[in-house]
């Protein structure tokens, strides 16, 4: 089970000294799943969503969730730039957040020695460098650059810091920095050293270019560009599955398609169509991904869907989960008819007559409870009332439309 603390959220930044990162964090998230973009795709109307999210939305109502323009899944295009930004931000996030939180503690906690704070600022420099490129490394010592690389792997700034204590060599650092004990701190972006209070102002206009020492940067640049090439800028070669025109396919032909695709073909036609739609979405969004999953993994995801929304879903969901079935509106629109039928059924129960069989059928029909065995006349009134909660009706007894008295009791 997920737990609330495992979920990262833009609001994480609000209590830190860096609340301005909250909108940055939020801008890198898909508005449908509220999580960081996964395989971001851009629509014809230039909105970006996760591949799976937008494919599900489009197969559900064919419109962009943001502006409601009509669009088609086949017109989606990958948004590599966003993907790259998201991935570097995700890597940097835990460390930046950690540093931000610690800085907050320092600010309202007991005073911390200057040296300790300075080390942390250097660590910030390290991780930014890791995420954004080598230019910023220019003013780092070689050992620090190495540390920054390990930091990306371990993702743990605390360990990084304690490890650093062993090989922390003020004299080595003095080669690159004017004076470790000069009371200055390095800019987290470019590494230039300045007075602490000047850093904030400087960050605003820092272009990331360190003032000098470009020789080291050159030595690291190839690594970074190599890592950029790990992410294939060219699409993978998995072909997309076409959408089917279900109305042109008879049941047998449809099931054969399912066999060809290797997905389960049991269930009603309506379920088959929903399953196929889900599979096409899963499959195609995986084909969009730069790191596609195996077919087996996709089948597991389909099975997950089957158990939450498909044929193995708990029965009470199966009723209302036809995508465009607005259960509430339907229930509300027909409430007076329900009440009417219930009233009549009650009346009939008191005065049994030959017309009962017919009434009962209508009542059952209106309730849409096909599983209910055709009720005996005597049970009718009871079962009607009992079935109502299936339409998200309140647990209180059904009222007869006399609203005023009800809501003022």
């Amino acid at each position: 089970m997920d737990s609330i603390s495992e979920v990262s959220d833009p609001t994480d930044w609000l209590p830190t000294p860096l609340p301005l990162l909250a909108p940055v964090d939020s801008a890198l998230r898909c508005q449908v799943c509220k999580d960081f973009y996964e395989t971001p795709m851009i629509t014809s109307c230039s909105h970006t969503f996760c591949s799976l999210c937008i494919r599900k939305c489009l197969s559900s109502d064919g419109r962009c969730p943001a502006c409601r323009e009509q669009d088609q899944a086949s017109k989606l295009r990958r948004n590599w730039a966003i993907q790259e930004v998201v991935e570097s931000f995700k890597t940097a996030r835990p460390q930046v957040l950690d540093v931000a939180k610690r800085r907050e503690n320092e600010e309202d906690g007991s005073p911390v020695q200057i040296k300790g704070r300075k080390r942390k600022w250097q660590d910030v420099g390290g991780e930014r460098e890791d995420a954004e490129g080598a230019r910023k490394a220019a003013r780092q010592t070689r050992s620090q650059s190495r540390k920054a690389t390990t930091s990306a792997i371990s993702q743990d700034i605390v360990i990084l810091d304690s490890e650093g204590d062993d090989d922390y060599d003020p004299s080595g650092e003095a080669e690159d920095y004017p004076q470790p004990g000069d009371g200055l701190v390095p800019c987290p972006v470019c590494g230039a050293r300045m007075k602490e209070e000047a850093v904030w102002l400087h960050i605003e206009r820092c272009d990331g270019n360190p003032p000098k020492k470009l020789s080291e940067a050159r030595s690291i640049t190839p690594q970074i560009s190599a890592s950029r090439h790990n992410r294939p800028p060219q699409p993978n070669l998995i072909p997309r599955l076409p959408q089917l025109n279900y109305s042109l396919l008879k049941d047998g032909a449809l099931k054969k398609k399912f066999d060809d695709l290797g997905i389960p073909n049991w269930g009603s036609r309506e379920l088959l169509i929903r399953r196929h739609t889900e599979w096409v979405n899963l499959y195609n969004s995986n084909a969009d991904s730069s790191t596609p999953k195996s077919n087996r993994e996709l089948l597991r995801e389909l099975d997950l869907w089957e158990r939450s929304q498909g044929g193995r879903a708990p029965a009470r969901d199966a009723l209302s989960k036809k995508k465009d079935f607005d259960g509430k509106a339907w229930m509300e629109g027909n409430k007076s008819q329900f009440d009417e039928l219930i009233r009549e059924a009650r009346k009939k129960r008191q005065v049994p007559s030959k017309k009962e069989g017919q009434k009962e059928e209508t009542a059952n029909d209106a309730e849409r409870s096909p599983n209910m065995p055709s009720a005996l006349p005597g049970q009718l009134a009871l079962s009607s009332t009992k079935k109502m909660p299936m339409f998200a009706m309140p647990s209180e007894p059904i009222r007869d439309g006399d609203g005023i008295e009800d809501s003022t009791q």
Partner: protein
């Protein structure tokens, strides 16, 4: 099922609304075992007869959330043109854009996956302040609101007091 899209997103929204709640609104799952049923508390907006009241409501999310909207039902007495006598809230943001049974709602006001619990609750709060009587859910309340405003306001205030146990 724990990792399904719907539950993941609901956790995310729970986190957001806990960390940075909009004024006068709290909301969260009733139990952490079932993330699909939430309880919300809405403060009556100032300068309206609802002022001073706290109104509990229950939100139920479908398994294909956020493709489909949740339903919302006040669990207290609520005398309002857009709330059914049984407490169900009738507001355009809770209606899927597909069909428009009432033919008066703009598609732009309707449910879309980019909406959120927070936006629903804010809309409901402003609905309390400004009822929409074009297609009332509670016809009697709507008529009273239109024709006998002072009776309507008294009724609402009485409910508020009753809700607070006064």
């Amino acid at each position: 099922m724990a990792s399904s899209v719907a539950s993941k997103r609901l956790f995310q929204e729970y986190r957001t609304i806990t960390n940075d709640p909009p004024e006068g609104i709290t909301a969260g799952p009733v139990t952490e075992d079932d993330i699909y049923v939430w309880e919300a508390l809405i403060q009556g907006p100032e300068g309206t007869p609802f002022e001073g009241g706290i109104f509990p409501a229950e939100l139920k999310f479908p398994k294909d959330y956020p493709l489909a909207p949740p339903t919302m039902r006040f669990t207290c007495d609520m005398w309002h043109p857009n709330v059914y006598p049984n407490g169900m809230v009738c507001i355009s943001i809770l209606h899927a854009p597909g069909d428009d049974p009432n033919h008066y709602e703009h598609a732009s006001e309707r449910w879309s996956p980019i909406q959120s619990v927070e936006k629903i609750l804010i809309s409901v709060m402003s609905m309390l302040a400004e009822p929409n009587d074009e297609s009332p859910a509670n016809v009697d309340a709507a008529r009273m609101w239109r024709e006998r405003r002072s009776d309507y306001e008294k009724m609402v205030r009485d409910n508020v007091r009753k809700g607070l146990g006064l």
